[in-house]
Each structure stands twice: as structure tokens, then as C-alpha cells.
């Protein structure tokens, strides 16, 4: 019998429809794989009993002749999505033991379409990080190894989701992306990660980090799988006022494989100083692949690119400092209080004990840039530069259908590297942050291997609500790159 954990989401969907296996069998195979790979620490909470219940219910539903878009397919859920009755931590100590009384809209959509939840995937605390080393529940280890064999980061913040998919511990996973948190770990783990347009998926029930940037999306083995899963996650939701009231297209139908005559933009500003030779070569190869497939390659300019990180590291912490004010030790989460403590003492002790270092840093930077006397110089200035970045993309998309860039400036690095200097860690997001600030859809597709044998991804950025073009071009890039490498132990 074939190893059911090595199937793609599309293959598993079709196999279930043909009756080759049941959801119970698929789910059991993945639970076994989770047991075998527990050393990667990809999950904070495993939910095997719930998974088996959901799988049985799905098989029963199918037997009665009804099947949703994700019917019977076992997935991992980033532990930033509130799941009813299942601990939701955001990888923070402050939310340890928190069991939501409600289900996020995205997971509710997925489960309504038949998806089976295997567990809650690890992440950087409150999704703040690029290495998954800020989780209170421990580091996630990338299933890929370089030649030295040392433990590498899976990227972040959706590092557990990416590692779970790469190590076949889930057919697919949900992620969230604020500045690159789906695309960068997808690149580091050799999988596909799609950040949809801001507003495509509801944010309701997702633990908030930076509300003007946060967006949920699929992390999958293939571009087709991303199309299938996004179709189930997306849609208007009255409970999120920024959710777009527009119809969800058939994303899978966009995968025609035909990009002849399409215009692909190459932004010269992304060729940053000190870009490693292998990243630059990967990018050139991607350009050649799309040109060979009949696309027209056009140089475009995004002049404010170099200011994107600076803008992001004002806007995101500012929003985080407001959003995280809700952790007050009163209504939910950890409380630390001694006899005779005032309300302020209780707030200050609870938040000091509950938040990790990076989260504290970002709350404080955010508080500072929003404080009297600094608001205009920092926050308001950053919002104005954000509009310049948005206008850059508007200009470029007057000429082209999609933009091709590297996803990240390097392959996965060793755990512990880039620590100590917060800014050095931020540089990992240099290519993903601009599209986040402009709210645009972006996909990372594994396209090649580094000299160390690690996966490298290329990013395609599209126009607002044009995930279809991003998926179509992504599909062509995927076929041309024919990226078949797997982490050791997951071959074949």
C-alpha cells in the first residue's frame, strides 16, 4: 500500500473520492507520522482523538453521498487560530491553557468543508519572528539538514506548519502572514506558501498581531493544493469588517498552465547589496523558466523598497502594542499577583511573566512610536511611507500581471544564528514585507536547492484579489522547476 502521508492534498482528495482509502486510514497514517517526528516539535498540541472523531464523521458523511471541498483531509492548524475547546496558545506563556469558546472563521470554513484537524502547530510567540525560536513551547526543527547535519530553523512565524507539511505530518496546514510568516518558512522548508490579498480570508478568531497586515493562507505541498485549500478558507465574513465582500473564484480552475503573453515584472531594487550568488542565480533561473513558458519579462521599478522594513518595524509593533493590551491577567490568560498588589502591579507582573523577550521588545517599540511627542515623527511618517510603497506597486501593476522575486535572502540557517541582534533577524523578511504592506497576494514556490542542499523559494506577487494569476504563474514555475527533492527520510 502506498504511504498515505506522501500524497498531495489533491491526490488524497481524489483517492478518497474513488474509495481507495478512508479518511480514518489517512488520518491514522498522519498520526503515526506525528509520533515518529515528535523530535521536530512541530505541534504544540496534538489532537489525535478529535482527529479520529472528525475522520469517522467524514467517512460517514461521504457514505451518505455528500463531500465538501476538503472532505476527510487531515491538516495542521497554526496555533494562532482559535479552535473551540482546544487549547490555543499563540505560542505564548500568557495564553497557556486558554480554551476558546468559539471557532475562528477560517477553521470553521475548513471543518465545514470536511477537513480533519490533527493538532495545533507551533509558531513564533504571537507570530513575531522569522525562525520559530521565540515560541514558549520550544524551537521547531526544520526537517531539512545541511551538510553539517546541525539543526536548522524552519523559518517563521508559521514554522510548525511548514515543518509539519515538509515532514509529511499533515497533508497541508494553515498559516498566517503579517510580514512573510507564510512565505519565508515555506521557502525554508521546500513547500508552497500562499499569502492571499488582505481581506480575502476573515481574520475573525485569529489571535491578532498587526491587524492591518495579518492574513491567513494555505501552506501545502503543491500549488494545486494551495488553490484547493484557499478556496475553502476564503470568503466574506460579516464578523471581520475588513473582510472583502467579493465572491471566491474557483482557484483550481486558474491552473491552466498557460502564461503565454503574460507580463512578469522584475524589480531591480530587490537585487540588494550582498545578495548571495545562489539566490541571484535562482532568480535568474526563474526568469528564464517563465520566459521559456511564453511570458514576457519586463523590468519594473519599486523605488521605495529599501524603506519597507523600516516602515514595517514601526507599523507592526505599533499595532501589536495595541492588540496585546488585552492580555491583562483578568479575563483570560496568566495572572501573576501577590497579596496587596494594586491593579497596576498585577498587570505589570502578569505581562512580564507571560510575554517573551521579542514580544516585550515589540510592545515597547510600538508603545514608544505611538506615544505623545513621537507619533508624528515615527508612526505617522511610517504610514505615509507605506502609501509610497503601495503606490510603487500600483505603478508596476500598470505594466505587468505579476512580479517575480526571491522569497528570502538565504536558505534556512542554524538555530541560534541571527539571535542577539533583533535587527539582523528582521532582515530575513526583506523580500516579503513590501507585499504585506501593500496588502498584495504573494506565493512562495520551491524552485531550487542551495549549495548546502537546502530548498530555496521564489516569490510571485500579484494584483489585489488576483490570486488566480499568482497561482497560474506559480503552477508554471513549479512545473518548470520540477522541484522533487525531499528532506532525508521523506523521499519517494
Amino acid at each position: 500500500m502506498t504511504d498515505l502521508t506522501k500524497l498531495t492534498l489533491a491526490e488524497a482528495r481524489d483517492g478518497l473520492a474513488k474509495g481507495d482509502y478512508t479518511s480514518v486510514e489517512l488520518t491514522e497514517a498522519h498520526l503515526k507520522s506525528m509520533d515518529a517526528h515528535r523530535n521536530l516539535n512541530a505541534y504544540i498540541t496534538e489532537t489525535p482523538e478529535k482527529a479520529m472523531e472528525m475522520a469517522k464523521a467524514s467517512d460517514a458523511k461521504r457514505a451518505k453521498g455528500s463531500a465538501g471541498k476538503m472532505e476527510g483531509l487531515p491538516i495542521a492548524v497554526k496555533d494562532l487560530f482559535c479552535t473551540e475547546g482546544v487549547q490555543t496558545t499563540a505560542a505564548s506563556h500568557i495564553l497557556e491553557g486558554f480554551k476558546p469558546e468559539y471557532e475562528s472563521t477560517v477553521t470553521s470554513n475548513l471543518f465545514g468543508n470536511g477537513a480533519v484537524m490533527l493538532g495545533k502547530a507551533n509558531l513564533d510567540e504571537f507570530a513575531m519572528g522569522s525562525s520559530n525560536t521565540s515560541s514558549y513551547y520550544g524551537n521547531v526543527i526544520n526537517p531539512w539538514k545541511d551538510k553539517s547535519g546541525k539543526d536548522l530553523v524552519p523559518g517563521g512565524s508559521s514554522g510548525g506548519s511548514a515543518a509539519a507539511v515538509a515532514a509529511n505530518m499533515a497533508l497541508a496546514a494553515t498559516g498566517t502572514d503579517t510580514g512573510g510568516s507564510i512565505r519565508q518558512p515555506a521557502s525554508y522548508c521546500g513547500i508552497v506558501g500562499l499569502k492571499p490579498t488582505y481581506g480575502r480570508c476573515s481574520r475573525w478568531g485569529i489571535v491578532a498581531f498587526a491587524s492591518s497586515l495579518d492574513q491567513a493562507g494555505p501552506m501545502t505541498k503543491t500549488v494545486r493544493d494551495a488553490a484547493i485549500m484557499l478556496g475553502s478558507m476564503a470568503g466574506h465574513d460579516a464578523k471581520d469588517s475588513t473582510s472583502a465582500p467579493i465572491a471566491v473564484p474557483d482557484f483550481e480552475a486558474a491552473l491552466t498552465g498557460d502564461i503565454r503573453g503574460m507580463k512578469i515584472g522584475i524589480p531591480k531594487e530587490y537585487r540588494v547589496d550582498g545578495m548571495p550568488e545562489e539566490i541571484s542565480k535562482l532568480w535568474d533561473n526563474g526568469v528564464a523558466m517563465l520566459r521559456d513558458a511564453g511570458a514576457e519579462v519586463v523590468d519594473v521599478t519599486l523605488p521605495h523598497t529599501k524603506y519597507a522594513l523600516g516602515t514595517y518595524y514601526i507599523v507592526a509593533p505599533a499595532e501589536a502594542s495595541s492588540n496585546l493590551a488585552r492580555y491583562d491577567g483578568l479575563r483570560y490568560g496568566q495572572r501573576v499577583m501577590d497579596d496587596g498588589d494594586s491593579l497596576d502591579d498585577m498587570y505589570m507582573k502578569s505581562r512580564a511573566a507571560g510575554f517573551g523577550k521579542e514580544v516585550q521588545r515589540r510592545i515597547m517599540i510600538g508603545t514608544y512610536v505611538l506615544s505623545a511627542g513621537y507619533y508624528d515623527a515615527y508612526y505617522n511618517k511610517a504610514l505615509k511611507v507605506r502609501r509610497r510603497i503601495y503606490q510603487d506597486f500600483e505603478g508596476a501593476f500598470g505594466q505587468v500581471d505579476a512580479i517575480l522575486t526571491p522569497t528570502a535572502p538565504s536558505a534556512a540557517f542554524a538555530i541560534g544564528e541571527n539571535e542577539g541582534d533583533p535587527v539582523k533577524m528582521y532582515l530575513n523578511d526583506v523580500f516579503t514585507v513590501p507585499a504585506s504592506l501593500a496588502g498584495l497576494p504573494g506565493i512562495s514556490v520551491p524552485t531550487g536547492l542551495s549549495a548546502e542542499g537546502l530548498p530555496l523559494g521564489l516569490q510571485l506577487i500579484g494584483k489585489p484579489f488576483d490570486e488566480e494569476t499568482v497561482l497560474r504563474v506559480g503552477g508554471v514555475l513549479e512545473s518548470a522547476a520540477n522541484f522533487t527533492a525531499k528532506p532525508a527520510g521523506q523521499e519517494g
Binding site: Y313, S342, M348, M364, K381, K384, R388
Partner: protein, 96 residues
Amino acid sequence: MSSLDKETVRRIAYLSRINVSEEGLSELAGDLTRILDFVEELQEVDVEGCEPLTSVADLTLPLRKDEVTDGNIQQKVLSNAPMTDAGCFVVPKVVE
């Protein structure tokens, strides 16, 4: 260049309602100064006539009918609270 001193960090920490040790204040002063230096380059961008971009969602915020749509879920609201009594959240004494 904006360099944050320990007293400024103490004030930010209080505004953020996060307890920070004396030692932590010095470390944070370094970290936060490093981050502020990094974002300093924004000052060189010409934003003359540019409106702040607060949201990329190209929508007018929708209004719904002003009516009660849920309620009677006291147990659910309180279920994750660290301390409750008689159907209420318990807070430290705030009035002398």
C-alpha cells in the same frame, strides 16, 4: 540618531505595563535604540502631500443594524478567567 536612556525605557515599560528589572532596562535600552536607528532611514523619504495609509482594504466600513445579536453566555465569557466570583471577574482592589 535617537538613543534611548534608561529612564525613557522605564517610562515606556510602565506605559506598556510590563515589569522590567534594572538590568533588563539597560539591555532594552540597547535593543530599542538599535531598532530605532534601523528605522531612522525613513526620515529621508519625501512624503510631501502624501496621506497616511492606515488600511489597504479599499472599503467603507460596513454598518450593521444596531441590535443585540448575542448574549446570555456568561459562563462562556468567564470560562477562561484566572479568577471569578459570583459570575463576575475578580480584580484587585481599585478603590480605597
